[in-house]
Symmetry: C2
Subunit: 159 residues, 2 copies
């Protein structure tokens, strides 16, 4: 019988250097992990993930992802915004928050997701980058600028 | 600038009640999560996941999964063994380890994975449960008792 010691709730310990993605809508941590390109064969830094944690900000449940020794480019941050529009990103350096910002979605989402319409010109092998207008931000809804198809299942169609 | 306080390495805080799956081969936490049936739309208890953590037992890197307020049945534990044969499972009650055991794989794996051979009788709509002999334990390799096909990609073929 070994005691693990008392604690108030499930949470993740701080990281020295890296990125904390907080206020992820509950359940979306797995999609954030996918966006970060983390698979069973592609892990080069320590990652901690909390799912279904109490959130005072979101007023219910949230997920959180901490990834060590990595900072995110703006494209990755915008992809995260598509699945977790309330997420905040904190850059951690030597255990301190060096920079913190809320993710955001441009009015025009270019090259981040594929259109779900197989007949869309962006799916026909032409050198045309995908482009969507944001028609709703809560929930996030994107409409293809070429074929007007509203994108369903954004997380399954991220590039 | 907010300090998150010092800590030696990424790790997860203890849970009050539930299950800790430790010594998971690095990268396999995502498959363990899949085995637990956790998806973006199916989360009812708090989960914390650590990936690519230093392991003295495995002598390299390991993953760990903690799930609150849930205990695993033997079928789930054996599925976990197929993707993480060195995993240990600890049942936590009131912050203490109530029971701890190493996962194990039976010599004959029944009804846990599908055969990857589409012509196998177990994939032809017949009321035949899948059955594999364990031909190697490190790495885990299973051979179908009906068609002799060695199962590749066990994690993609779990039932």
């Amino acid at each position: 019988m070994a005691s693990e010691g008392p604690v108030k709730e499930v949470r993740l310990t701080p990281i020295r250097n890296g990125t904390v993605i907080d206020h992820i809508a509950c359940g979306q941590a797995l999609n954030v992990i996918k966006i970060l390109g983390i698979t069973e064969n592609n892990i080069y830094s320590s990652i901690s993930i909390g799912m279904h944690l109490t959130s005072t900000t979101l007023g219910g449940w949230k997920d959180i992802v901490k990834i060590e020794d990595r900072e995110l480019d703006s494209k990755t941050a915008e992809k995260i915004a598509l699945v977790a529009p309330d997420a905040t990103i904190s850059i951690i350096r030597d255990f301190c928050v060096d920079r913190k910002y809320k993710v955001s979605i441009s009015d025009c989402v270019v090259g981040l997701a594929r259109c779900s319409n197989p007949s869309c010109i962006t799916n026909r092998g032409e050198p045309v980058e995908t482009k969507f207008r944001v028609v709703s931000r809560c929930p996030v809804q994107l409409k293809c600028c070429y074929c007007d198809r509203v994108l369903m299942n954004i997380s399954d169609n991220l590039l």
